[in-house]
Amino acid sequence: MKLNRRALLQLSAATAALGFSGLAARAQAIDELVIAYNVTLPAWDPTTGPSAVNPTIQGIYQSVFDQYILQQPDLKPAPGLLTEWGWNEDKTKVSMTVREGVKWHDGSDFTAEDVAWSLTRAADPATGNPIQFVWGTLANIKAEGNKVTADVAQFDPTIFKWMYFLTGYVLPKAYYEKVGAEGFEAAPVGTGPYMVEKFERNAFVRLKANENYWGGAPEFKTVTIKFVTDAAARVAEVESGNSHVTLEVPYEEYDRLKATLTGVAKPVSDIGMIFLNDIDVMLDANVRKAAAHAIDKQAIIDRLLSGYGVKIDTLETPEYDAYDPTITVEYSPEKAVELLAASGYSVDNPVKFKIQTTKGFKPKDYEMVQAIVGLWRKVGIEAEIEVYEIAKHYELRAADQLAPAAFYNWGNSVGDPTTSTGFAMFGPSPHSVWDGKDLIDMIGPLWGEKDETKRIDGWKAVDRYIAENALVIPLLQYVQPILSAPGVVVTPHASGALLPHLMKRA
């Protein structure tokens, strides 16, 4: 065959036609909403295995399944599948009222039996629910009519908050028992706003609107969530029009693209912090306090995160129940120098320790630590940076073997102090590396405190004690950037979950 100019042109035209053939929908109005999601969905059961405690995929779960209690975009609870809930007078029993008229995706009726079964299953260690230790505080769970009751085996003031947190999902008793775990994985059924139409692991999930959804049918009738884990690829997805919505893009890209696309950037319940381990030089209060006072958090947010972040001085963000704006840690390099001098350290004779950080796990994590180390150097702290993977962080933290300082991010989408300050700072918790007895004694009684006002005040006092003694260095509350096509209005959720049923046409 002779390859002449004419043949070459014909070949080029054929290639272009081939490419365009798959993209016909791009020019049309948004009929099928396409979301470029930042993580993949490994498994469908939202109550078992590692996926169940992965905060980043809860948005997908919440599109298909309902939680016991609805969580509103501002993190506050609202009636969901449960319309009423509470304890009896002496807090030895709980009772819940179940919404009537709700249907499962397979058309069967949702009942109180489903709620009782889901709670019982979650409390059974054999099912592999990672939060079993919470659900196990309820016993003798019974359904009668549209009421569910249970005995309180061990009082947990946060039990109802867990009902809109990790693993707090209601699954269909009859369907699950009929198809088993494998069948459920292949064809999940929930009561949520969307039904699973097609799922390709590592690729996409295609959802169809649940027209009978008790909260009202979603506006977009078909939603495809594509798993695009690379940030640059997500930017290209929305920029090219292949996807209509994406999240967690670099802030620089967000600023560039929000001129042509719609951008929304709101604080989420995810914070950046530095764990201090009570070993070596961190046993010296002057060193800890100096390290805290020497960090200009606002400058870091402004310069490294393009202003997308909220400075925090406790592990509570403004949306959390125990947030106390009067607890502050001022930026004062002078005070840091004084404190270090009191312990015999100076710029010429710096205190030395190691700080661990991830690189690229959270936006500008490594760069933030570099900036902090630079600020510390100016006051007489010489910190050596060690980069590690997030998996290593978890392992070291569980074994209480973190370096004297370790950067990490902490999520707490229910906003209760137990799931922020509590688990991060209570010595016996596998997530805490501060083992000081004073703090353990302060926190201990709060786990079972039945008076809510007293409980929250108690946590505020704990936060104040932690800030005054610099037992941890809270840095910032993250802001989640979301980009959408001009025709789509996204309602951000403070938990960080990107929920398609909260998206509307402009």
Partner: protein, 343 residues
């Protein structure tokens, strides 16, 4: 009689290579099993919930069989493998074997497409450079080859996304197929099956998804093929039999394609075989970049989540592919090389 002897020799060689392959796979299995358990980061620490007690952590370890010693874990795993059970993925709770086998076709199709593109581009560059040797076109081809080689495949991927996904949106930049399409396939070889079923609409959609990642993988390989083939052709063009065919009055195109190419292509073929294994390895990053649902993409997720059984399964499969490809290349070489073919 002589051909029977040759067949027996070939059979012995194949069996010997298969035995070596088996030993290699066992070695890989041992190394991978122990290494991934020694490196920092374990899956249990990643799924421990806030507030979990020591007993909760111990129960989780027992549930995933990680409470036993590493040699005991290896024994259990090896015994399962012998019976075709590669274990269950920690993150997906699916059998590892079915997971990796479901993703393998996607990676194989991508790799083969990349190889075909690389051979077309590289072959075209080599033949054009040889035909127009000593001209500016040859110099331009050499410069192009140098550029293609010096830029890594993932960077080509980003450039292609920007060029043909964003600026000139001609091709799809993520996934393997448009989610809204109904796929009538019974295997996961989508591209092949679409062709066999004469579903050219689906075929075009799949090609439109695969083209950019395949091209990103192919460009560096095309440069290598182009350089080596051109060099081989140049050397062959000076041989006596080529000069003789010129003397007989054959045109330059005939001389290059019919006389020089069959001999010059042998070293390139060997190289292509070796490079194909590297190409499959390269799919890990490219699949991630293009959100392509292949084995490489799954491998990254498995490593991030410390999904030990899945990592083991994927690595074993990659090792198996590498050894089999090398075996196939050796056999092809034996079949095509006249000296080996005729004993």
């Amino acid at each position: 009689m002589r051909s029977v002897e040759r067949c027996l020799t070939l059979l012995r060689a194949v069996l010997s290579r298969l035995a070596t392959t088996l030993i290699t796979l066992i070695g890989v299995a041992v190394i991978v099993f122990f290494v991934i358990r020694v490196v920092p980061g374990n899956p249990i620490a990643m799924m421990v919930a806030p507030g979990a007690t020591e007993a909760d952590i111990a129960a989780l370890k027992a549930q995933y069989g990680l409470d036993k010693s590493i040699p005991v874990q290896f024994g259990i795993w090896l015994s399962g493998v012998v019976h075709g059970d590669f274990g269950t993925s920690i993150t997906t709770r699916q059998p590892v074997l079915s997971l990796v086998l479901s993703r393998l076709p996607a990676t194989l199709e991508l790799s083969v497409m990349a190889l075909i593109i690389a051979m077309i581009l590289g072959g075209f560059a080599a033949l054009t450079g040889t035909r127009l040797r000593g001209t500016r076109t040859e110099a331009a081809i050499d410069v192009g080859n140098g550029m293609a080689l010096s830029v890594p495949d993932f960077l080509w991927g980003l450039l292609l996304i920007l060029g043909f996904g964003v600026l000139l949106p001609v091709f799809h930049i993520s996934g393997r197929v448009t989610p809204s399409l109904d796929l009538p396939f019974v295997t996961n070889f989508y591209l092949t099956e679409a062709l066999l079923r004469l579903r050219f609409d689906l075929w075009a959609d799949i090609v439109s998804h695969m083209f950019l990642p395949a091209l990103a993988l192919a460009i560096p390989l095309a440069a290598i093929i182009g350089q080596l083939l051109k060099q081989s052709l140049k050397e062959t063009m000076h041989l006596d039999y080529v000069t003789l065919s010129r003397t007989k009055g054959y045109g330059e195109n005939h001389v290059i394609l019919r006389e020089a190419l069959p001999n010059a292509i042998l070293p390139t073929l060997t190289l292509v075989g070796v490079q194909f294994t590297f190409l499959i390895g390269g799919t890990v990053i490219i699949e991630r970049l293009f959100s392509y649902e292949g084995l490489g993409n799954m491998a990254i997720d498995a490593v991030i989540n410390r999904d030990l059984p899945l990592i083991q399964g994927i690595v074993i499969l990659f090792a198996l592919i590498f050894t089999l490809v090398n075996l196939a290349v050796d056999l092809c070489y034996a079949a095509l090389n006249p000296r080996l073919r005729h004993g």
